[in-house]
Symmetry: C2
Subunit: 218 residues, 2 copies
DNA sequence: GTCTATAATCTGATAGAC
DNA sequence: GTCTATCAGATTATAGAC
């Protein structure tokens, strides 16, 4: 219902102390929402608990977010902004050879997902009942995924199907790890092997020199 | 902890008409639960709706299942029994060459999952709030997964890590398909490519027919 | 075996006082 | 901006009549 003109990842700077305080509270609420959701599951978030967690009545939360879905939406957006930051943080691997860089990226992606399974579910699965991201937040998601595609391009992989395949492989490993062995590393140990396997298929030119093809090293 | 001797998939036969009718009603309730869950999501199941769907009051459902979790548990078990039947139905591919059989199996697995996304979530993801399968149902799941491992063994793949990797790849493709492109085939089209890729890694001997095998024989 | 009645609790959300 | 009060409903589950 509200005007959804907000351009992705471009929050207007607060205009005064009032607005600054308000933004701070919004951030605090969002942060509390993440804590609750990690403890009770994505669908288990309730406005009551959320209010209590920030020292308010549930009703007061509505002064900051107009609905529960708006909170999910803000979490979705924030999650993708974190994913964006994650991508940017990988820039320091630009010096690595493409194959090594790909391997590095794979491990980092796996870590990004498994360190916060709930965030992973919110961003990459459709597990939440009636929630659909707003156009604005979805636009952020698409932008970030485009940047991920750029990362693939940087190591010479531009075929969209190849990128889909690679992402599917890593999300598959991730979700198996989260669902079936959350405390250990049964699938994490397969990341290297998956990388080698993928390289053969989608970037064989990267292997034409000295082919290390290490398997199973952690 | 409990005696896990209970042999999966061996319900005692009903002892009389009374019990037969009761079992029929239980089946009817379960079937209605699947319908509801497909429409409203796994977590959206309510006893009210379920009762209404079978022409009862919600309270009467408790005469057949002692709790909502018991219904989830029965669905979990039934899902794995269907998966078991799915495996058995693949026996007619025994005549195929191993690589072709593997390919066939991959496509069938993808179909099994995508034709009922909710079942897929219940069986292979941990998306449901507070539900844990009972020891009995979990034993069924383990048995069926063992049979799946036997299928891999039949085409010469016995390394547990290799099986984990293959399953992760196919569940990854599946869940991407379900979450991001439910009406079309963006990831389904990648199944063949994934199969080829996997074969190179985990069963190269199946591809060595035309080249001098210098890797050593079995 | 199904019902009515109801407990006990949770939910998201709104109105309006201060 | 936070509160009280409250709506209007949902939920699972139990007790006991018939």
């Amino acid at each position: 219902m509200a005007t959804v003109h907000a351009i992705p990842a471009a929050p207007a700077p607060p205009r005064g102390r009032r607005e600054a305080q308000r933004d701070r509270t919004r951030v605090e609420i969002l942060s509390a929402a993440w804590v609750l959701v990690r403890a009770q599951g994505l669908a288990g978030l309730s406005m009551r608990d959320l209010g209590e967690a920030v020292g308010m009545r549930a009703q007061s939360v509505y002064s900051y977010y107009p609905s529960k879905d708006a909170i999910y939406d803000a979490m979705f957006r924030q999650g993708y902004e974190e994913f964006d930051a994650w991508i940017a943080a990988g820039a320091d691997t630009a010096a690595l050879a493409p194959a090594a860089r790909f391997r590095h990226m794979a491990h980092r992606f796996f870590d990004f997902c498994t360190t916060d399974p709930v965030r992973y579910m919110l961003l990459f699965q459709r597990t939440i009942p009636g929630f659909e991201p707003s156009p604005g937040s979805y636009a952020v998601a698409l932008t970030v995924l485009d940047e991920l595609a750029d990362e693939f391009a940087a190591i010479g992989v531009t075929d969209p199907a190849a990128i889909d395949l690679a992402i599917a492989v890593f999300t598959g490993l991730t979700s198996q790890q989260i669902a079936n062995d959350p405390e250990r590393d049964r699938w994490e140990r397969l990341v290297d092997r998956a990388v080698s396997m993928l390289l053969v298929d989608l970037a064989p030119h990267l292997l034409d020199r000295t082919t290390p093809a290490t398997r199973g090293t952690t």
